[in-house]
């Protein structure tokens, strides 16, 4: 709050002469700051523990490495020389200050829905951020992808700037949720399957996708794999605190909760919940669970008992806010085992928020369990306590292990 105030004060000091105008400017800065939260700018543009918006960690895409640039108002290394029009072009058309095309790791297809007023406020806010002198080489793609001109073709196939069209048959709440999810929140960037060209597929939106060695799960109204069985309150709590009491955000979602959703208003979180619960449920029928006497299940049960049950419980019930319940856990029900396999191999840390500060950690067990053992214990948890999922092969685990942390 202190920081907010000082930002507002700094902004008003620029135009101290007219109080009415100063107040208006302060409101713009505050709204712009909230837009930066909705859009989770810092999620990509800030290195963990680093200076705010001064450039982020490299994104590993199927096409190569991209590094989110410095977007502080530093003239030499940031966006200090940009005009609002430059910024608007980047956000809505994917074209940078120098006329060069951006790569769609920057979710301009989503951001293009942000209305002008909010975009202007966001720009006003970004100008109040502390400038940081930090040079970032954004494009580290190999040839031919490093040729930005290729993006022109990509855009022709995959991108038309959109404005958000409210559905008059739905509630304002639903529409607000739809706007945040499709627009600034850019949920599809992680949760929607991609085409070979890396664009969102036209079908199966929000049914889950692999990225950067993780798997962003199904967030449609699907009951088994998605959030169909979650109450709106549960979803709000998850997004606000990082845990709904049963499951815990991990990996990139833990970061999204920490940097973005935990700072959204309760009303916006509720809108998101209303909207995603209405997303058409899309999931295959549950397979028949593995028989309890299957060799993988008996081996998995023994491994589970020794390594997992102390925290996750003999019945997979977990502990509130602390240890995720595995019974009924949707993350276990995805096709991909990337997330649970990573958790077992490398450990994992939850989100840390004001409302749920514990930040419990899953310890790494990859040093004591081999790929077959990890596969067996995952097969076991995917097929116990009412869960049903395809058995996991040691080779699946080996792939995750090879990808590394």
């Amino acid at each position: 709050m202190k920081r907010l105030l000082s930002l507002a004060l700094a902004a008003s000091a620029l135009v101290a002469a007219t109080p009415g105008f100063a107040e208006e400017l302060a409101n713009q800065v505050m709204n712009g700051r909230y837009q930066a939260i909705l859009g989770d700018c810092s999620g990509c543009h800030t290195v963990s523990g680093g200076k705010y918006l001064a450039g982020g960690e490299a994104l590993v895409t199927p096409f190569g490495k991209l590094v989110p640039p410095n977007i502080t108002p530093d003239k030499a290394t940031g966006i200090g020389n940009w005009s609002y029009q430059d910024f608007r072009n980047a956000m809505t058309r994917g074209v940078g200050h120098d006329g060069k095309h951006l790569y769609p790791a920057m979710p301009y297809p989503n951001y293009s829905m942000i209305p002008d007023r909010d975009l202007k406020d966001l720009w006003t806010y970004l100008k109040t951020v502390t400038p940081v002198d930090r040079k970032v080489v954004a494009n580290q793609l190999p040839f031919p992808f490093n040729q930005r001109v290729v993006m022109r073709g990509w855009n022709m196939i995959n991108f038309t700037p959109k404005t958000f069209k409210a559905d008059p048959d739905k509630s304002p709440e639903w529409n607000r949720g739809a706007y945040i999810v499709q627009g600034p929140g850019h949920c599809s960037a992680c949760h929607s399957p991609k085409t070979l060209l890396g664009a969102d597929k036209s079908s199966g939106a929000y049914t889950g996708a692999e990225l950067q060695g993780w798997y962003a799960p199904n967030i449609t109204g699907a009951k088994r794999r998605g959030i169909g069985d979650w109450s709106e309150d549960q979803i709000v709590r998850y997004l606000k605190t990082g845990t709904d009491g049963k499951t815990t955000a991990s990996g990139p979602m833990a970061e999204a909760v920490t940097n973005s959703t935990s700072k959204m208003t309760d009303a916006d979180l509720k809108s998101i919940a209303v909207y995603i619960k209405s997303l058409p449920a899309s999931e295959p029928a549950a397979p028949k669970p593995l028989a309890a006497d299957d060799a993988r299940m008996t081996a998995g049960a023994a491994i589970y008992r020794d390594n997992c049950s102390a925290c996750h419980g003999a019945g997979g019930e977990g502990a509130k806010n602390l240890f995720p319940a595995l019974k009924g856990d949707a993350v276990l029900m995805q096709d991909s085992v990337a997330v649970p396999a990573r958790a077992v191999l490398f450990g994992s840390k939850g989100a840390q928020t004001a409302a749920a500060p514990t930040r419990p950690g899953m310890p790494a067990l990859g040093w004591r369990l081999n790929d077959t053992q990890v596969a067996d214990v995952l097969s076991y948890v995917r097929n116990s306590w009412g869960n049903a999922g395809a058995p996991v092969a040691a080779s699946d685990v080996a792939t995750v292990r090879k990808q590394g942390r």
Binding site: A310, C311, K320, P357, T358, G361, P363
Partner: protein
């Protein structure tokens, strides 16, 4: 020449239980706080990994988490007629090292002292006459049990203590300790589920007319979310508490109750692997300027601060005061001086029962504080009029573990090695049960701490010297309680038993207890206490010293509950009183 850092409002020395609580309370009040910790950062998922934490060899035998003598030793002797020699290894007691301190590897037994313990001198003088305690240096704390109640309550709720109150606002509660002093509220969680050993102990002692009750435990009986919003898990009864970090977020420690909230605060900073060498107090001054510390690369820094809170382990609190010239060192010849005065310990004795094979105790199902206690012979629960001592002991049946290397009980008469020994350890493991007396330790003129004249540490600073032996009063007390334990043993129906008897000549090479107390004690008289009743130095007013070092003498109970309560008390005093008039003493000398 040390590098001068930007000033802070508060510098806290040591980030264990007390350092974490004080830091959190003061950071919450808006102060800029830096904690400087000698040991490493430690975190549950990384450092207490469930996959390797139950490693008895590494943690219990090789003592991986403890302070090592090569980092800082102390010298010990039984009396002033001897030359003190440095401990080559910490064995008799095991100070912690690193974030969380000894609170990482404790058992979790969490007691409140009795009201009479806090006003011990007045209480015993009134009841038995001054003559009874003339050989002891017993003192009042300068705080009453009623004043401590709220602080105890805050610590118990922070830590999720699992137990059964015995006396809520004067009403005796069935199932609790009937000797307990009145408390305002129940424990936040119910007692743990009892295992067979303590249940049998309760059965035996109950039939004898004693009053067994579940020992209050920082191993949690249920899942819990503390007042800071931090979640803890139900204990799994794995039996790896003392000497181990808890892998399951089930044992209260700074890591599981305070640090997650504290570390997110922008006005708090922890600097680990940095050792404070000295609190800087100009000669004759009443205010410290800050602390000098050295980091792991050998670089020296001066950290200026308006308030210095010393929160290291008891021994090292006292040593840092002596090294910094805060207060007058205690002299056992003249009885004058305060720093180092009233060093106390714990006067323990043990009993082991050997049953026929029909008893199976499954000792591996255990937790550090899972058990039953009889307080019938503790403190002044019993009339001492016709006895030749003061004080007492709790009789605890807390079979904290059945770990394979150390849990090898064998009946009297068994050879110490060889095939017969092996057979006996196999035959006895399941059918043997131990309980013990944890006795009070009362101060005498000759038990004290000072700086060693000969031995120095890595930085050329004198080591701390401990001069200690069991006082005659405490031995008489302990023998009396050993007799009571023998009565229990006889009534138990065990085929054999042993009862140990404490004797003169305290030996630092046998583990007895890590309940070292005193040396920087609180009180109302600056000529007999180093700290006022708010744990503020009488001599240097912006220095507060928190820990068991403040106990004028030790009760027959584990100290952590009282240490935690005192941390809240000191923090409150700084927040609510000291900050209104910085630099002023909270109590007029």
């Amino acid at each position: 020449m040390s590098k001068v850092l930007p000033r802070k409002d508060v510098v806290v020395v040591g980030l264990g239980w007390t350092g974490s609580i004080v830091s959190h309370q003061l950071a919450e009040a808006g102060l800029d706080v830096v904690a400087i910790e000698r040991g490493p950062w430690r975190d549950t998922a990384t450092d207490f990994n469930v996959g390797y934490m139950p490693d008895e060899l590494r943690y219990a035998i090789r003592r991986d988490l403890f302070l090592q003598a090569r980092a800082e030793a102390i010298t010990v002797r039984n009396n002033t007629g001897q030359d003190a020699l440095p401990m080559r290894n910490y064995i008799g007691f095991l100070p912690g090292n690193g974030v969380g301190g000894a609170g990482v590897h404790w058992n979790g037994q969490t007691w409140r002292f009795y009201d009479s313990d806090f006003e011990l001198k007045s209480h015993l003088t009134d009841k038995y006459g001054a003559d009874r305690i003339k050989d002891l240096q017993i003192q009042d704390w300068g705080v009453t049990g009623a004043e401590m109640d709220g602080y105890y309550d805050r610590f118990e709720k922070l830590a999720g203590i699992s137990g059964k109150a015995g006396n809520i606002k004067g009403e005796i509660q069935p199932g609790g300790n009937p000797f307990e002093s009145a408390r305002s509220d129940e424990y936040p969680l119910p007692p743990m589920q009892m295992t067979y050993g303590p249940s049998l102990f309760a059965d035996i002692t109950g039939k004898m007319g004693l009053h067994p009750f579940p020992s209050p435990s920082a191993n949690l009986s249920k899942n819990y979310v503390n007042p800071l919003g931090i979640a803890m898990g139900q204990c799994t009864y794995c039996g790896f508490c003392e000497r181990f970090g808890c892998a399951n977020y089930s044992k209260a420690s700074a890591q599981t109750t305070v640090l997650p909230a504290l570390m997110r605060m922008p006005n708090f900073e922890a600097r680990t692997q940095c050792e404070v060498l000295k609190v800087e107090v100009p000669k004759g001054a009443e205010m410290a300027r800050g602390v000098t510390y050295i980091d792991s690369t050998g670089e020296e820094y001066f950290q200026p601060a308006d308030i210095v809170v010393i929160c290291a382990y008891q021994l090292f609190n006292v040593r840092l005061m002596l090294l910094s010239g805060i207060g007058k060192p205690y002299d056992p010849q003249s009885g004058e001086g305060t720093v180092g005065r009233n060093y106390c310990y714990q006067t323990n004795a043990g009993t082991r029962l050997y049953f026929e094979d029909d008893k199976k105790f499954n000792p591996f199902i255990a937790a550090g504080a899972l058990g039953q206690t009889c307080d019938d012979y503790n403190g002044d629960s019993f009339d001492h009029s016709d006895l030749d001592f003061v004080g007492g002991a709790g009789i605890n049946c807390i079979p904290s573990n059945g770990r394979p290397i150390e849990t090898r009980p064998t009946p009297p008469g068994t050879p110490k090695w060889g095939a017969e020994w092996k057979k006996a350890t196999r035959d006895t493991y399941q059918s043997s049960l131990a309980f013990g007396a944890q006795g009070s330790s009362y101060a005498t003129r000759g038990n004290y701490l000072d700086l060693d004249p000969t031995y120095k540490d890595n930085y050329g600073r004198p080591l701390l010297r401990m001069t200690f032996d069991f006082p005659d009063n405490d031995l008489r007390m302990s023998h009396y309680v050993s007799d009571r334990m023998e009565e229990i043993a006889k009534a138990s129906g065990a085929k054999q038993y042993t009862v140990s008897r404490q004797k003169k000549g305290w030996n630092s090479a046998i583990y007895q207890s890590t309940h070292n107390t005193g040396g920087a004690i609180m009180g109302t008289d600056p000529t007999t206490s180093a700290l006022n009743p708010y744990l503020q130095s009488w001599d240097v007013h912006n220095v507060f010293v928190v820990g068991a070092s403040a106990f004028p003498q030790n009760a027959g109970k584990n100290p952590t509950g009282t240490v935690g309560a005192l941390a809240f008390r000191a923090a409150d005093a700084i927040r609510d009183q000291y900050l209104k008039a910085p630099g002023a003493p909270l109590v007029k000398a």
